[in-house]
């Protein structure tokens, strides 16, 4: 029974991935490239130790982002604002990290805490607006994303707290050696893997545990599945909305930290800004399940990293973005179809059962 359930869950993502591969192959053939050759080049490139390090690094970032989104999704909340939350959190975290000169085991936890707090507060604005003013969190978080960009630009202006970095862009002061999160390297690769990978794994476990083994998680899921039933059993929906949004924002606050504390050591205005949307896609692909999200994050990171080879074969590497978009769109369509099939099957079963009873 359990294996059938897992198979059911895997069907939709598999269909989506295959569909996107087929579509990408058609596009490749239209432009005179051999799809099999192209894909095998991508896989070969991704199998090198350096690529594996890069994939693990990207996947770590994506995992945080997707879990942040998934916490909202579990309650039917759309946190479109992960982008704004992590950017602001990382910027403030970078300012704090740049100013602290304590040893790492003191300063890094402080930076992580500050970033989570900032992300949480920024999401809290949307939560407050939803609970007390009835504003849809979709719209408010989109607006807050742009407001965060403005706020960061203001904070990082050289007249405020920012400095001119080496590449002549505005950013935060460079984080001292002691404040950097140590990484590890896999044999044959010069690129260190983020130490925060382990934190991501820990977060995944915590997410699973809270959701499935605590009262809080039970309340959260019940509100997501049936708000009226949740109210009837005494769950305070407003409070749960507030909590889950704050929690989602806190996890979003972690998204930028692997890159900040593990590779760049400074937050500049050029810091990547759309991991939040990636997180939405991966949370959908992984059906908000901690293990599913991990596979989704790895797939996304694989596509990102392996696309680097495409320019050398003469195919624009943006085809990967098309593939990613197609995967998201077709996976949600596939989920919707399987949901409908399931509902019809249940109705049939009920129909048959009642027919026999008569």
């Amino acid at each position: 029974m359990k294996s059938k359930r897992i198979l059911d869950a895997l069907l939709a993502p598999m269909v989506a991935i295959i569909f996107s591969v087929v579509l990408a192959s058609v596009i490749l053939m239209l432009f005179g490239a051999n799809p099999i050759e192209t894909f095998s080049k991508m896989i070969n490139y991704a199998a090198t130790p350096r690529s594996i390090s890069l994939i693990l690094n990207s996947a770590t970032t994506y995992y945080f982002s997707a879990v942040a989104v998934a916490i909202g999704f579990k309650m039917n909340l759309f946190n479109i604002g992960v982008n704004g939350q992590y950017r602001l959190a990382t910027a403030v975290g970078a300012l704090v990290a740049g100013a602290l000169t304590f040893p790492g085991y003191i300063s890094i936890p402080i930076v992580i805490f500050v970033s989570m707090l900032v992300g949480s507060l920024w999401a809290g604005i949307a939560a407050w607006l939803k609970v007390y003013r009835g504003v849809s969190e979709v719209i408010s978080t989109i607006m807050l994303n742009f407001i965060a960009i403005g706020l960061i630009a203001y904070l990082l202006a050289p007249s405020m707290l920012g400095v001119q970095t080496a590449e002549n862009v505005v950013g935060t002061p460079v984080i001292p050696e002691s404040g950097r999160f140590p990484g590890f390297s896999i044999p044959g690769s010069q690129v260190p893997v983020y130490g925060m990978l382990f934190l991501a794994a820990l977060l995944g476990f915590a997410y699973w545990f809270i959701l499935n083994r605590t009262r809080f998680g039970f309340d959260l899921r019940s509100v997501g599945q049936s708000p009226s039933a949740a109210v009837a059993s005494g769950v305070n929906v407003k409070r749960m909305t507030m909590y889950s949004m704050l929690l989602s924002g806190a996890v979003a606050g972690l998204v930028g930290l692997p890159l900040l504390l593990g590779a760049q050591y400074s937050f500049t205005v050029n810091f990547p800004g759309s991991y939040g949307f990636t997180g939405i896609a991966i949370a959908l692909l992984g059906r908000n399940h901690p293990v599913g999200i991990a596979f989704g994050a790895l797939l996304w990171a694989f596509l990102d990293v392996s696309s680097q080879i495409l320019d050398l074969v003469g195919v624009p590497r943006e085809i990967i973005v098309i593939m990613q978009g197609v995967i998201v769109l077709s996976v949600v369509i596939a989920y919707e179809i399987t949901r409908r099939v399931k509902v019809r099957r249940q109705q049939d079963a009920v129909g048959k059962a009642t027919a026999v009873a008569q």
């Binding site: 009835g134 504003v135 979709v138 719209i139 403005g150 959908l284 085809i319 990967i320 978009g325």
Partner: protein
């Protein structure tokens, strides 16, 4: 009969009210210009730039309006706009700007059809489909731009060769005398002249097209039976269905229109504003368009006013080298709040009076304490304004009742 008369009277008093609001807005603006001594506030250059910046977000907003009036929330506008800029660049540099316009409409519509397939036919969550649309829009535009422009002279991986310009009109006989009046620095009169002069100066034909589309939308959606059916689909699809309206078809028409309009907004950016397709030139304007539409209460007139205000703030910010214009805007905002507070006294809403008065006083003291404002204030102003309207005036907002709810024929959801 009496019903007819009262409706007519209602229209009349609404017009008077609108007139009073417009005149007092003008008076306020004039007052602020004179007090803060920022002459550029109502100059021809500012107004002309504001119009140019307002058109693309207005078109995106109008696109959002079509879609949401049929009950489909479209946060994929930004992706459709990006597809539009590519369509305009691709056909535009080869076959001229008019073909570019067509290309933008077609690419926008193609994006909208994919979005419609997911949301209308398959009934997928509209926010998720919109997010996917934004990813896809970026992916397709970048991929095809790389293929189409990287090997042609004057183009690059992220930029098209230049697109021939569309005609733009200036009526110097009207515009220049108005500028002369503006320069005389008379209370209200100069400001009205300055604003009007902007409308007769370097007006792109696309701007005229956009204005026409706003009027047409307002007519088609509110004055024809087609429009009534389309809006009924957004208010109560089940009822519409029971009266024989083909809900899916109307939703498809509306969503396709929304893609066409968003594509046109992209075309304005590529053809009229910069003369090339350039990666990233949309810069989130689809989202500002969405904000504009909410700000404008899901109505064409409101959306146009919202786009005008956001375009105006953007124009001031771009022309403002020392931050004084934005400082003047703070004063304007303060005066508006204080004015609203005075109106609220008459209605005995003392809590509102207190809130508005306090906010106004804070803004006035901000104005008095600074000499210049950071540019970032203008960057966040449209989003902040929309958020504040949503938070504190949402009782006055009325989105379509079934906005965002997927409709399945014969299913209770």
């Amino acid at each position: 009969m009496t019903g007819m008369i009262s409706i007519a009277r209602g229209n009349y008093s609404r017009r008077v009210k609108l007139f009073v609001i417009l005149v007092s807005a003008l008076a306020l603006l004039s007052f602020v210009r004179i007090w803060s001594d920022v002459f550029d506030l109502t100059s021809r250059g500012t107004i002309s730039a504001a119009i140019g910046l307002a058109v693309p977000i207005g078109l995106a907003g109008l696109g959002g309006l079509w879609s949401e009036r049929s009950g489909v929330v479209n946060i994929g506008l930004d992706g459709m706009m990006i597809l539009g800029t590519f369509g305009a660049g691709w056909l535009g540099w080869q076959h001229g700007p008019w073909m570019g316009l067509l290309g933008a409409c077609l690419f926008g519509a193609a994006g909208a059809l994919v979005f419609g397939l997911a949301t209308i036919t398959f009934g997928v969550d509209q926010i998720i489909a919109g997010t996917a649309m934004n990813i896809l829009g970026v992916g397709f535009a970048q991929f095809f731009a790389n293929l189409a422009f990287s090997k042609v002279p004057g183009g690059g991986e992220t930029q098209s060769p230049s697109i021939p310009a569309l005609p733009a009109f200036s009526v110097e006989q009207i515009s220049d005398p108005l500028v002369a009046i503006h320069d005389k620095n008379i209370f209200i009169v100069s400001d009205l002249a300055g604003i009007l002069s902007g409308f007769f100066y370097r007006l792109s034909i696309l701007t005229i097209l956009a204005a026409t589309l706003f009027i047409l939308t307002s007519y088609v959606l509110w004055r024809t039976s087609f429009g009534l059916r389309l809006r009924s689909v957004g208010e109560n699809p089940k009822a519409a269905d029971s009266l024989g309206v083909n809900v899916y078809r109307y939703k498809y028409i509306a969503v396709t229109m929304s893609g066409v309009l968003a594509g046109l907004g992209g075309a304005f950016l590529a053809i009229a504003a910069s003369g090339v397709y350039r990666e990233g030139q949309v810069a989130g304007r689809g989202f500002i368009g969405l904000a504009t539409m909410i700000f404008g209460n899901w109505r064409p007139g409101g959306t146009a006013i919202g786009a005008g205000i956001f375009g105006y703030i953007d124009a001031l910010q771009l022309r403002d080298s020392d931050g004084t214009s934005l400082r003047a805007m703070v004063l304007l905002g303060a005066l508006i709040l204080i004015g609203l507070a005075i109106l609220a006294i008459k209605k005995n809403k003392y809590q509102t009076v207190f809130g508005l008065g306090l906010a106004g006083a804070v803004l006035v003291s901000w104005f008095l304490m600074t000499t210049a404002l950071p540019k970032e204030v203008a960057l966040v102003a449209p989003y902040l304004a929309t958020l504040l309207v949503l938070a504190f005036a949402s009782q006055r907002l009325r989105p379509p009742a079934a906005d965002g709810v997927p409709y399945r024929k014969g299913e209770d959801r």
